[in-house]
Symmetry: C2
Subunit: 411 residues, 2 copies
């Protein structure tokens, strides 16, 4: 019997307890031992839970219990999760977490502590919810040098964009619908401003390239500025707009990493990932493109990934999984101005195309039915983003008002 | 240093040797030890290979070398692969294979030998080539009861069908193109008759449900009867035709397993998997649908999956991976006549719709532009396949000539 403790009894935490209970037999068959939930840490009361006798409000009950070998952190947020997780690892307990904020902020340090204490620190659920991605990247793609990772990493924004694309809803209405359906939180900032996707691409980049990438080194844009007009021009250009988290390996092992809305060609495997689903493309030098698709959030999908990590910990109580990266200082990341991309521009004014051609050279005008009078959209060739910005400023000085600028995803 | 032997120096085998050489540093970082290719078994001569001094024609050089801890079987076929692999396992060597024919025919026995000898028998590359699928199913989805697996498991047939769908090529021309491009073998039977896809769905079903499923228990149809006319009717019905390998868990843990061409709705995640790519959907009771996509064959993609298994063996020289299923006798598989499906029918004759409605009850006629005079297509409701067959026979007795009948994939 392996005793575990679960810190947090919210959506994911209660899902973990549920799966450990309902799938007891299957899990026993896999491990050869029973997983016993000894403690559940939560400040709230759950008198009607079948596990009511396991609840505690005192972290000391967990940290001081030498029988507890695996601790599950599903509280979310940095505090007290960071402190609790670190203390558990230092006490020789393996830790499993679904907390992307924690892993993105302190992954390198916590992995180092785990290594020192010869225990495991696993976080499959932190990226892609129920989609297997951390373990496949770490194990199945180990023989590859990863050239690029690009993903739709946030279900909330993907749901909103899908409603805009398929049902012609305005951003605000789609956001409200997402909130009503429980896909978006009342304070949706972390999702719609791209911070959640940023944490996830940071974790994937750290894993793929062996050095921690911190969120503040990553240029991050959300989807709040996307309009229905942009959605329709994108369609006329054979694209859909998706919020993409992306990291690309350049020469000298430098990384080009970004989170931003992008025009994704309809033929791309990421273009058909709709609603609240996530999809992650990993381009290996041997495998070529491999894509993982599924529900990136939700109670049971996320909990099932947490439970897979618990099982792995139970099977490896005496050995460490080889999941590790060192600390990073951001020096392996190029400034976002140096990132090369083609750009979609929607603008208002007279002779926009003539003026734009003078500045950008070759451009492709996008024509669409029902376009607004005086509004023009075009796509530039690839150039460094800094160069684009300068030229866009010059275009504005020439009397053109730029309404939108969105990257073209080379996916 | 871990010494390995590679049996077979064909497409995949030479790819394995290549990756072990070119990615030495990355693999060393992952294992903490060097992987040394000590022997390569092949009857042919490779005097110009940089590994020329490692070649042998004698299996005894491998089996008798106690330094060899991991043996890679990439010869293909059953003989002598089966005998060699079994002897290696019995000699206490871990074995990695990409040989789906071997795993589908003898997986249960070889896994039992591996268990007995406390060594590993791994075969990530046997399904989906470079796409991670065996390990994610076995580890990441361990907390799920798998309700269904459905996949495009054969790149050759998917390439042929894509050419028919997108370029309007006839089957024979598309097959010839596939052969010219190296996607299809000179003797393409194993691919186009569905045997290759059958082996793969057998492996996935065995893994998911813990009992070996042998290919001869699986109703298998290929794509040789698919015509351009069917492709166009499918399109008019909002579908594409794909060769699908599928297993579904029914009540009482009975399995409904089949390989057959199916009409797949355009909105399905499997509909957009084109050309030589593979895609596999796993429906877990907790995760919902998870889809894995990538190159299902080819030298480096397949070899990279083999190398991932080698790495896993090297890390677990003293412990076993928990990859295991018991033998099966086919008693957990329902007869294909009892499988429930809606059917597409293309037929020639007078009053086909009236006659079909009398027999099948509610049907949907498919109308399409440019239809041949006297040819009609319709889709039935869901029914047991045996019931469909009887009614189809009655329809033929009523003077209707059935030209095609294809399952509707509920995917």
């Amino acid at each position: 019997m392996v005793s575990v403790a679960i810190m947090g009894h919210g959506v994911v935490g209660s899902g973990v307890a549920e799966i450990l209970t309902t799938h007891k037999q299957k899990l026993f068959a896999s491990i050869g031992e029973e997983i016993y939930i000894k403690h559940i840490l939560d400040l709230r009361e759950f008198p009607d839970s079948p596990l009511a006798d396991r609840f505690t409000k005192d972290f000391n009950d967990i940290i001081n219990d030498i029988e507890v070998r695996v601790v599950v952190e599903v509280m979310g947020g940095l505090n007290p999760a960071y402190d609790f997780v670190k203390r558990c690892l230092k006490a020789g307990k393996s830790v499993v977490t679904s907390n992307k904020e924690l892993v993105a902020a302190h992954g390198a340090e916590l992995l180092a502590v785990a290594k020192e204490e010869n225990v495991n620190f696993l976080f499959e659920a932190s990226v892609g919810g129920g989609i297997p991605i951390i373990r496949p990247m770490n194990q199945c793609l180990v023989a590859n040098i990863v050239d690029e990772i690009a993903g739709i990493l946030n279900g909330t924004t993907n749901f909103i964009l899908t409603k805009m694309i398929e049902d012609g809803m305005q951003f605000e209405d789609a956001l409200k619908l997402a909130q009503d359906l429980g896909f978006a939180e009342r304070n949706p900032e972390a999702d719609i401003e791209g911070h959640d996707a940023c944490r996830k691409i940071c974790i994937l980049a750290s894993l793929a390239y062996g050095k921690h990438v911190y969120p503040d080194s990553v240029h991050t844009e959300g989807i709040t500025a996307i309009t229905l007009d942009d959605v329709r021009y994108a369609e006329a250009f054979g694209c859909v707009i998706k919020l993409i988290g992306k990291v690309k390996r350049l020469e000298g092992n430098m990384l080009d990493i970004i989170v931003a809305p992008m025009l994704v060609p309809e033929k791309s495997q990421l273009a058909n990932i709709d609603d609240e689903f996530n999809g992650i493309m990993v381009r290996g030098d041997c495998t070529g493109d491999v894509v993982f698709y599924g529900k990136g959030a939700g109670k049971l999908p996320t909990a099932s990934a947490v439970v897979a990590d618990i099982v792995d910990c139970c099977k490896h109580l005496k050995t460490r999984k080889y999941l590790y990266w060192t600390d990073g200082n951001g020096e392996n990341i190029i400034p976002s101005e140096m990132s090369v991309t083609a750009m979609y521009v929607r603008a208002e004014g007279e002779d926009v195309i003539v003026k734009a051609e003078k500045l950008f050279g070759s451009i492709s005008e996008i024509e669409r039915e029902g376009a607004q009078e005086g509004v023009t959209a075009f796509v530039t060739d690839e150039m460094q983003y800094g160069e684009f910005t300068k030229k866009a400023e010059a275009l504005e000085k020439d009397g053109v008002k730029i309404l939108s600028k969105i990257r073209i995803g080379d996916l």
